[in-house]
């Protein structure tokens, strides 16, 4: 398996990840160069299987200013939702770009749901003051992926490396050189050299086992960026969606509440009226998730016997049978298939569930990292338009906008560059780390049990509500887990060795979990999705700033950077 010389492939632009962000970037890179650039998309899955297919409810954009919507309103809702931690220049740029992206996808074939007059339909989504979530039934991400994937096959010069697992980013003198990867079908270790690169590896939601995410959403890309010297930003902010379906956490989209579904406690009370009198069940996600945990902790929840999980009821009866069957067909199907409940007849058991990570690879407003020639986009990146709490329907949108920006930027940069040179020593060190260290590694600890322990501690101490004690304990445990001998591979085969990938993923999870916990422990305030029991108030004087986590030989180091405020001054949020 370990060759003397590691094969080198060469491309102009190397994109890691084929979710909405990666595919949008690939099309743009090809498009701005008229197909002249040679674009590689490297992805650990078959390209169209990416986690993005799971997005359901909507993509936000201002399409109908004549009916009262405005860019300013979209920007303000986003900033307010972010609990003022978003960078407002980025938000303004984002909302301006979005309408064009909706039309672009439509022109590439996306079957957006339509109004009677044949124009694109929109609906309400939590935290917005106008119904601007553009939707295609309840399969928004699926159709975005289908459209981008199908369209990408039409553009010249896009080469897919499917089921190639990227292990590291190669740099030289602060400049991007390429990535290393394992070709899963053959087991060979390869360097893919490029003049420019884009990391679009998605979010890190699988730090939790009760998660809406696909199993593949592990923080590989974030960990490789950290190792390459790029900080992660605002990782302590993790969104817990109010409604994960017991038992596994499959998402029951907010659109259910947008269409009229209501949350109810054990006493049959619509409790949201006590927490958010104006917006009720459609208040922003952090507000709803906290209200639910408070209801549960104060004894007004139900308990699931099989899993031991506490939950509340999501009652769909106000929506009406017909609408449930037509507009929410996927949710109905999921509830029947995974819980045996027809939501037209009975309420659904739900509880807060890990759903989105606001933080990510630190990038500027163009999506550029600190390494020249390397960008990051989508959920893997943190621009930040989401701040301390993202609004639903804004993240697929962000993937589109920064997929487009970074694709164009990377293409322009690559067009002006000579052929990439290899960085032999780094490649050899990486090969040793993986093959001597893990593939031929020895150890007695089951890596899958390390993953389980990690997920348990995240669910216990790094959830909706946090305390100094819990977080300190979590940090201790995680550092202990890292010393266990789990870096070994039982599967000795070269072909399609998922065991090796899994160990690499678990290693990344431990690194990134430590960043999350350290950031959360340091941030002695409550803001957006980060709720400290011991510091219940937002503290703008000390904490209106982004967390930056650096990784070095001496471990983790935290630093902070400024939040950009243009026109929306921080005030207290009311929903």
């Amino acid at each position: 398996m370990v060759g003397k010389l590691v094969e080198a492939l060469r491309h102009d632009v190397v994109i890691v990840g084929s979710g909405i962000a990666g595919l949008r970037a690939a099309i743009e890179a090809s498009r701005v160069s008229d197909g002249k650039l040679d674009v590689a998309v490297v992805t650990k899955l078959q390209a169209m299987r990416s986690h993005s297919v799971s997005a359901e409810g909507g993509t936000a954009a201002v399409l109908y200013p004549e009916l009262g919507d405005s860019l300013d309103s979209h920007a303000f809702d986003t900033v307010k939702g972010s609990d003022y931690l978003a960078d407002q220049d980025a938000v303004e740029r984002f909302v301006r770009e979005m309408p064009g992206e909706i039309y672009q996808l439509e022109h590439w074939g996306l079957p957006w749901s339509r109004r009677e007059d044949g124009r694109i339909a929109q609906r309400w989504f939590g935290g917005y003051s106008y119904p601007r979530a553009t939707f295609a039934e309840d399969k928004v991400g699926f159709f975005e992926m289908q459209t981008l994937y199908d369209t990408a096959t039409r553009y010249g010069g896009i080469h897919f490396y499917q089921e190639w697992f990227v292990t590291s980013i190669l740099t030289e003198g602060g400049e991007f050189r390429g990535v290393t990867a394992i070709d899963m079908k053959t087991g060979s270790f390869v360097q893919i050299l490029g003049k420019a690169g884009i990391i679009a590896t998605g979010g890190s939601g699988r730090l939790y086992s009760f998660a809406t995410y696909a199993y593949s959403s592990t923080p590989d890309g974030m960990a490789t960026a950290l190792r390459a010297g790029i900080p992660l930003k605002d990782m302590e902010f993790i969104q817990f969606h109010p409604s994960g379906l017991i038992p596994s956490g499959i998402l029951i989209t907010e659109a259910v509440r947008g269409e009229g579904g209501v949350l109810v406690n054990k006493d049959g009370e619509r409790f949201m009226k006590r927490y958010a009198p104006a917006k009720l069940d459609l208040a922003s996600r952090d507000v709803v998730s906290r209200a639910m945990m408070t209801e549960i902790e104060e004894g007004r929840g139900f308990k699931d016997q099989a899993t031991g999980l506490d939950y509340l009821h999501l009652d769909l009866s106000p929506i009406g049978d017909e609408k449930i069957k037509s507009r929410l067909s996927q949710i109905r199907e999921i509830a029947i298939k995974f819980r045996g409940i027809d939501p037209a007849e009975k309420p659904l058991p739900v509880r807060p569930v890990c759903h989105y990570v606001m933080g990510g690879i630190d990038v500027d407003i163009d999506g550029a990292t600190r390494i020249r020639g390397l960008w990051a986009a989508g959920e893997a990146a943190c621009v930040s338009i989401n701040g301390a709490n993202r609004l639903g329907a804004n993240s697929t949108a962000e993937c589109l906008v920064w997929g487009k920006f970074t694709g164009a930027e990377a293409a322009r940069y690559a067009a002006g560059k000579g052929a990439a040179s290899t960085v032999g020593e780094q490649v050899q060190l990486e090969e040793k780390r993986i093959f001597d260290g893990i593939f031929h590694g020895k150890g007695g600890t089951n890596p899958y049990e390390i993953r389980d322990s990690l997920q348990r501690l995240m669910a216990k101490d790094v959830f909706v509500y946090r305390t100094a004690d819990g977080l300190s304990e979590a940090l201790r445990t995680i550092r202990e887990l890292k010393t266990k001998d789990f870096l070994h591979c039982e599967d000795r085969s070269r072909v399609y060795n998922t065991n090796l990938n899994d160990v690499l993923e678990v290693e990344s999870m431990l690194i990134v979990a430590e960043v999350v916990i350290a950031g959360a422990l340091a941030r002695t305030e409550s803001r957006g999705a980060h709720a400290r029991r011991d510091f219940p108030k937002r503290d703008d004087k000390n904490w209106l700033k982004h967390t930056l986590a650096f990784w070095g030989p001496d471990g983790l180091r935290l630093d902070y950077s400024k939040v950009t405020i243009t026109k929306y001054q921080p005030t207290e949020r009311h929903y």
Binding site: R49, H107, G118, K325, S329, I336, R492, S493
Partner: protein, 266 residues
Amino acid sequence: MTDVRLLVQRFDPFKDEEPRLVEYKVPKREGMTVLDAILYARDYVDHSIALRFSCRQASCGSCGMKINGRPRLACYTQVDELAGEKVVAQPMENFAIIRDLVTDLGSFFEKHAEVVPQLVRSDLQEQEHPTSEYVMKPEELTRVLQFTYCIKCGLCTSSCPTVATDSEFPGPQALAQAYRYTADVRDEGGDGRIAILDTPHGIWRCHFAGSCSYVCPKGVDPALGIQLLKRHVMSGHAPRKAGEGSPTAKAGIPAHGPGSGSSSGG
């Protein structure tokens, strides 16, 4: 707590002459899917079982395999819904095996790409630099909708007797997608697609076994799509009438697989 008797077909091309079934005991829990059962075996019994999976909610199309003899998605099949006391997981038919449950879908994706699965327009400037949307009435959308639900899982193609005997036949997935784009009111590429598919190895090779529509987990009816493409060729009219008299129903074959209809979808 009872155990599930899980049999997984194992095959490593570097080590094994022949595929073999290996049995694993998996503790059963309420609501367990076949994917849950295999992952239990992989995580705690034998780390070397190779399979594809990602979303675990029937949206990504990764986990197609043959379960107790029938093509299904592992994440979308409850252990309890299977008859008999064993769960037998094998790779899909009609595709080469890479290892264990993992099959080679390379040519499957290529065939999809060959039917021009994009909106083809003559107004390229507008298509690439949109000023607003192309108008599409809800009823026009409804006509193509079921065909847009395809998650490229390969189950239909794995069940198709024609694919098994003619390697040049595009297969039900690709043909259904040719229909999906051709029947879209916004599309102008129908003639181009028909030119590719109106051949002896193309649509005319389908002799309507109907198994594709029966096994599809997303309620797509590829057999219907192929019939409508044929009708389009014979009539010389744009195939925009999927709502009218379904030939599938006329032929006495169930128009949809189980779990389809209005409750299905991606």
